[in-house]
Symmetry: C2
Subunit: 322 residues, 2 copies
């Protein structure tokens, strides 16, 4: 089962968004052009546009109107990835070289700025004040999340609350907003807007927690980068956080190891510590809780095929970690 | 005569904005905190907030309301400077080390992102759809201007039109928008909003052209960096553009010289070529034309002290190049 099988009826509209994205990142400058296309072709699931389109089905679905929202949100997402790779010092994403690795930090900075500007341009199409406020707030929260991630790197005094806030800002909010804005731009009822927002939020939280689990349990082939890379970069995600909170000795081993030069660090012992701590199981439980809340959020929505797709996507996300 | 003498009656309100700016850039992260404060203390004339406040005087002046606009615009300006310094590879600004020089490109990228996010946060305070659209558009145009600047570096086939569009996006638009948003947020008449927008646009164009002249005619002490630095970085401003368009031989000398390693380039012969070409005089004439248009734009406005200040500021800007 592929993710795209879950919303086959959107196929032509998704292709439409893909074309719009290609037009949006066209730049009259060789390096910028190449970098933007590189990023676009590196792919990604375009899951934010999918959530926009599915949510718009609960109102008056007009692809000509909602495409701008879908494109704006995917561009914000893309821009944030490019800058995140600079912050995380990441050379690979989805098995492909990142822009900062293929070119340098400077090119990554201005490519991100450029794509961000294109997102703002799209957002300015709308006259609806709610849409502006929601997008502005999402952009603010995402930038803040980026900054929080820097602040929290190699910070051994984090807790569950700071972790959850970080992944909310980093991932869940933009998915929540994708659902909400799809609903708003199609004129869905306020109740349905709220339901879809919470669906997106919970799915996003669950998704990110699972991503953080996979960073410990996945193979290099599946991940497109070595396992444990988040921790190696000083990003303390839930499984590691759990391990460190429950055993002071483990905490010291992890924090001492990560003080070394990165090239000298053997991650295998650290991966084992995390796996044996129960942190993976704890994280799986928490991701399941969010997923259940996502299913609950859908309950009052009318029974159209988009609802089934949203449910299937949530199930699919849950199945990734098992 | 100091610039600040021209709007003494705003003194306490400007101090208010300064405090708000300090609060806005406070970050819970040592490097970010230090970099933001470094940037804030490097100063600048806060001319955008001044334009916001003066323009708001043509409506119902309420500092508690317009301060958000003033802070947002100054933050957008600051963020763009930080990223511009990465793009221009600039080590000094106003005689002080830039963030990318004091730290590195990565810190400059995320400091800029952070300040930009703070600007977006402020902008989101407003419920007025016009304000959102104007700010979004200004952010888009500024980012595009940044990208255009990269594209046009070492591009010897520019013309007056591309130069004017670039400085519009880089400088004039944000000043125009500062005036316009001051007027909008104070509920000034649509006619006055338009007058103030054009005043700001023309003052901004004039200001940037004079800045570009001073880069050739100023001393290292006045500029805080060596003369001819724009050209050395491959940024072809109006005086150089004029010289290159009017003498093919000069054009070849300039373009060949700039192909060399930067540390080996002697700028003195190039500065002489530009000065002897008549490019400085041509640029002065054009800046004067914009300044006159700025004065004209003020004509229909009611005769309050803010009008006198706006006129005096324009005169002051004009006097910088003589």
């Amino acid at each position: 089962m592929k993710l795209t099988d879950l919303y086959l009826f959107l196929k032509s509209d998704i292709e439409r968004i893909e074309e719009e994205l290609e037009i949006a990142v066209q730049a009259n400058h060789p390096v910028l052009q190449e970098a933007s296309l590189h990023l676009l072709q590196a792919g990604g699931k375009r899951i934010r546009p999918v959530f926009v389109l599915l949510s718009a089905k609960f109102g008056n679905y007009d692809i000509e109107r909602i495409k701008h929202i879908a494109v704006a949100l995917e561009l914000i997402h893309m821009a944030s990835l490019v800058h995140d790779d600079v912050i995380d010092n990441a050379d690979l994403r989805r098995g492909k070289k990142t822009i900062k690795a293929q070119w340098d930090n400077r090119v990554a900075m201005y490519t991100g700025d450029y794509i961000f500007a294109k997102a703002i341009e799209r957002a300015a199409y709308f006259k609806n004040e709610d849409i502006h406020r929601v997008i502005s707030n999402a952009m603010y929260e995402m930038c803040s999340g980026e900054i929080e991630q820097i602040r929290d790197q190699y910070n051994w005094h984090q807790n569950l609350k700071t972790y959850l806030r970080r992944i909310k800002r980093k991932t869940a909010l933009l998915i929540a907003v994708s659902c909400q804005l799809g609903a708003i731009s199609a004129g869905a009822s306020l109740t349905d807007q709220t339901r879809l927002f919470y669906y997106g939020y919970n799915v996003g939280m669950s998704y990110q927690i699972i991503d953080d689990i996979l960073d410990f349990t996945g193979s290099e082939k599946e991940l497109g980068k070595p396992a444990g890379d988040d921790l190696l970069q000083g990003n303390i995600t839930l499984p590691a956080l759990y391990a460190m909170c429950h055993n002071t000795e483990d905490k010291n081993i992890i924090s001492e190891t990560l003080k070394k030069n990165k090239t000298e660090i053997d991650m295998v012992p650290l991966l084992n510590i995390v796996k044996q701590s129960g942190g993976i199981e704890y994280s799986k439980e928490l991701s399941k809780k969010y997923l259940n809340k996502a299913f609950e959020s859908l309950e009052g929505l009318s029974d159209i095929s988009a609802k089934k797709s949203l449910r299937d996507i949530a199930k699919y996300i849950g199945s990734r970690s098992s």
